[in-house]
């Protein structure tokens, strides 16, 4: 009984602290939704808007590393000293291509799991997080697919049920205890046999997390808008390099209707190279770097190693 009362006092104390002084842990409640952004699979890699033949299955395995550096509080200060985080995650992803009404279509499912560790903001060390992010489910459809001219327009719908690892009493979690949905539009075109480009826009919608840190607070978030673009050069039939941009906009967060300084305002440059080792096995390496961030961690260096197997 005393233990229960003690936990209640701690929880109440945290709520009061959050409401009155906005300490760092309170301000970054919901941080997990901002870190490890590279782990969201609707973040496309080059050629992902090109439909593969009906019946094709892909298994993709990713290892993603992110070294996060500075932290900025929205329009507030940017902290550099004793600030950073290390993200190490793996992604298991399955994709199936099919046809609906004569158009290419398909579905996919993926799961992210791993760790966010050594996180400090302004010298204040935050908890390490281990576990799984929310499961991701998606269906995609090509209303327009012109294989002769290599022009593809894709639409994808994503759903993230709140299945990820979540503890409302710690700041950083891999799961975020809320439903999310995302609607994505993508266009891909090849001009000649060497050059192609991909452009994507997606909007992520968030339900409230009604059990946000430090417990029983409501975290709400405006939709996040994202632009992605790649220009690709295919050197040989099996080897391609790409240069890309990814920008996040919006996503202002509120904790119990008070803005907490977090939002999704991030601009990232990406470089990738991919190579088919066998006709069914491809490896891809991506390096990326945030050029500007407001309302979250800035990623100094990101690396993705992806292995794709078609079956």
């Amino acid at each position: 009984m005393r233990a229960v009362q003690a936990r209640r006092k701690v929880a109440i104390g945290r709520e009061l602290t959050c409401r009155k002084s906005l300490t760092i842990p309170c301000m970054v409640a919901g941080l997990a939704s901002l870190s490890a952004t590279g782990t969201r699979a609707q973040e496309v890699e080059p050629n992902e808007y090109t439909p593969l033949p009906a019946g094709t299955n892909l298994f993709l395995d990713y290892y993603i590393y992110e070294h996060l550096g500075k932290f900025s509080f929205g329009d507030g200060p940017t902290l550099k000293k004793d600030t950073g985080s290390e993200v190490n995650v793996a992604v298991a992803r399955y994709v199936h291509y099919s046809e609906i009404f004569g158009h290419p279509a398909g579905y996919e499912v993926y799961q992210v799991f791993g760790s966010i560790a050594d996180t400090s903001i302004g010298g204040q060390h935050l908890n390490n997080a281990f576990g799984a992010q929310n499961l991701a489910l998606a269906g995609f459809f090509w209303p327009y697919a012109n294989q002769q001219d290599h022009q593809y327009f894709a639409v994808a719908g994503w759903l993230y049920p709140p299945t990820g690892t979540y503890d409302p009493h710690v700041v950083i979690n891999l799961g975020d205890n809320r439903w999310r949905g995302d609607l994505q539009f993508g266009w891909s075109q090849a001009l000649g046999s060497h050059f192609s480009y991909d452009i994507g826009e997606d909007t992520m919608f968030y339900a409230d997390n009604t059990n946000a840190f430090p417990g029983h607070q409501t975290l709400s978030q405006d939709p996040t808008y994202r632009l992605q673009a790649f220009v690709n050069w295919r050197w040989t039939p099996g080897f391609q390099t790409s240069f890309g941009y990814e920008g996040f906009f919006g996503g202002v967060q509120q904790l119990d209707r008070t803005q907490n300084g977090m939002k999704t305002d991030e601009h990232r440059l990406r470089v990738t190279g991919s190579y088919f080792i066998t006709p069914a096995l491809q490896v891809l390496l991506e390096l990326n770097h945030d050029v500007a961030v407001s309302g979250g961690f800035k990623q100094d260096l990101g690396a993705t190693l992806r292995v794709l197997f078609a079956f």
Partner: protein, 171 residues
């Protein structure tokens, strides 16, 4: 939306089969022949259609167009014969052909002529052995007759493909 698409996709997946099916107990050799013939017809159509816009060599374009026409004519004859035997043809490509076609799509025409000719020589050689096997089988007489007819067309196309391959190697 995602759920709706998933549900639709699920319905579609249930019908996906790379092999022909029969509910009337059709001869196994007939089922194999229909499976393989449809696989190669679907592949020739898809790859041949890409050749009309991708191929650099006019000879490759012309031969691809002829092969698409041949594939369509063969499909038009094979469909009713398969139905008469109670055989439902496959509706997706088998694994090896899916992989080959997938590469053709993402390569955007790079080195298309050479890849196309190599692919088609392999598929025509497979078709010839399939037709020979069917002709000597104890299967449906109508399907055996079709195999013989198709065999001579496929041999003619194969000779042209091999001549093109030789020409490409000399360049």
């Amino acid at each position: 939306m995602a759920l709706a698409l998933l549900a639709l996709a699920g319905c579609q997946i249930a019908g996906e089969a790379p092999t022909a099916t029969t509910q009337t107990g059709a001869n196994g050799e007939d089922v194999d022949f229909v499976t393989n013939a449809y696989q190669l017809i679907m592949f020739d159509r898809e790859e041949g259609a890409l050749a009309t816009s991708e191929a650099m060599d006019p000879q490759v374009r012309a031969l691809a167009a002829k092969m698409v026409t041949d594939a369509n004519q063969l499909a038009a004859k094979l469909g009713p014969l398969a139905a008469a035997e109670g055989i439902r043809p496959p509706d997706i490509l088998r694994y090896s052909l899916r992989i080959r076609l997938g590469h053709m799509r993402i390569q955007n025409g790079l080195d298309f002529d050479r890849t196309f000719v190599d692919d088609q020589i392999a598929s025509h050689q497979e078709a010839i052995s399939m037709h020979e096997m069917m002709a000597g089988s104890a299967g449906s007489p109508a399907l055996r007759q079709l195999a013989q007819e198709a065999g001579s067309i496929v041999r003619g196309n194969l000779r042209q493909l091999q001549a093109l391959q030789l020409e490409m190697m000399r360049r």
